[in-house]
Symmetry: C2
Subunit: 323 residues, 2 copies
Amino acid sequence: MKEPASIEIGLNAAIVGVRDSQPNVLVTREGEKWDALPYGPFSPLDHRTLDIGLRNWVREQTGLELGYVEQLYTFGDRGRHAQRGDAGPHVVSVGYLALIGEEPQMELKDASFGRWYAYLPWEDWRAGKPDILTDEIEPKLKQWAEQCESDDAREAALTRPERLRICFAIGSGADWDEEKVLERYELLYEAGLVAEAMRDGRRAANHWKDLPQLGRPMQFDHRRVLSTAISRLRGKLKYRPVVFEMMPETFTLFELQKTVEAISGHHLHKQNFRRLVENGGLVENTGDVSTETGGRPAKLFRFRRDVLLERPSIGVRMKAGRA
Amino acid sequence: MKEPASIEIGLNAAIVGVRDSQPNVLVTREGEKWDALPYGPFSPLDHRTLDIGLRNWVREQTGLELGYVEQLYTFGDRGRHAQRGDAGPHVVSVGYLALIGEEPQMELKDASFGRWYAYLPWEDWRAGKPDILTDEIEPKLKQWAEQCESDDAREAALTRPERLRICFAIGSGADWDEEKVLERYELLYEAGLVAEAMRDGRRAANHWKDLPQLGRPMQFDHRRVLSTAISRLRGKLKYRPVVFEMMPETFTLFELQKTVEAISGHHLHKQNFRRLVENGGLVENTGDVSTETGGRPAKLFRFRRDVLLERPSIGVRMKAGRA
DNA sequence: CCCTATATACTCAATTCGAGTATATCAAAA
DNA sequence: TTTTGATATACTCGAATTGAGTATATAGGG
């Protein structure tokens, strides 16, 4: 066992919100091409906890004061943080998810909101199956599954076709699991199909010629952190009342539905959504209405904050449905 | 911003299994009193990923080769790792959950299995509400809720009575959420009611005299890691087929039920459990029976490994029920 | 006043759930 | 051999939840 190399802990925040039915994430754009999440090293002397460190960095870099924050995952693999050679300390990156309600009006220094689905276009099924899946991703992945070299398959628990089935619903009778966002991104990375794989010098990336850009890339492993955030959020939506962290004080049920759809990436059955939310006791009527919807005025609701005190508090349950 | 202090990343494994209806965790017992989880620092030069580092440390310390491994959480707070003064590098600890089927027969060097509920006795409700809750914990916590000093309450989102309600179901109409294992342990720590709080020199710990020992303590923040592991496992049980990682190759449905009960800490309705598991398609009949149960022989089942390839694969759903 | 767009309410069959009762099959006791 | 006790497995039934609709209400614009 050698003398431990110097380690740096990077704190990364995926700060997300929804506006006009578009889920967004806060990014800093330093060098035009590679967007980045707000980021900074953990300094135990200045930060009593990791959470506090994260909040400090975000405040410093964007001027934003975070509310709801949740730790996602700690990534330690070498090489995913490359960009410049491989010098410097080894960076272990801790990803965080932060939710904001209304996107701040104030000017954010060096930061702006970018759409989730610009980075991960295959994740938005609200208008049906995205073309990029049929046209680009599926053919390439099938090719990748066939050219499975023996040394790659050695001890893998699953074969490549099995993995395609699970992650991308490629194969008979499989269907799309909206929560497998991270697994999908990682599979694309492993197959060398995203720009970060090329940047990190992954061998698989060299197999491909004239590769179209599959989603906007990010610096470091930030697109992986974003994928983790979306996975977590899509899962949590169903069993904790987290959507409300991303809503204004009052809202109509359809606005709530639009937000859930934006996050989960697919359509819901309107009447049943309404029934579930209303009967679930998560919201209460304010008495006011909004006439901005075009047709009959919509009742305005507010989140019942006290459900947080109640039992295993339920989320916004939902099954996919027609528009 | 000062020069970053030296950081060490500690990898800790909560390796759990169930035997004879008792859930256990692998501990090393160095100094008699303070049990510890298998533990070691992450060394980026030797370990390509955090997971690999963890597996190496466990192999080295116990001789055990891990199968199912899942990262839990990364804790960075100062002071929770104390024990000896506050010298040395700052330690950030990454907790892992590992599941093992049959506990190994081989002699484990310097390690043995300890019962979960020896460390967290208030978590086992299989024989009804544990006495330690009624007799020791609830009175002390109520006292703690009352003596809420102004400087503690300053910016907390929830009041102490509210927190007792949520975590310990103290108060009217609240009931016990089996998944809040970590929240409960952390509350006890904050209230100074567990030995680790005293060890770490927490102020709250000094308020109490002749405090009975609430569960067996552990070294460092390992009881917190264990609590995180149990929380995660209890939650995951319901939506992923993870129990089967902890079962032998073939098993009866009642054995499966006993395992689920051991983990979740409460009883299930036997007939409904059987219905859910059988109809859920998670298991298949082997054709053999086991006569070791006393009465009518029980059919033996095996886990259908291929469900892992299927859709959002469901776990062992369950609601509490009578014995 | 009618048309269109949206919101909200109600319906209904299918399925799942919770909580039982009933029956089957072993081993050991009588 | 029969009884008894223990356990496993099967079946029942009302209540609740779900999926997928149809029906009605209320705004604004011609």
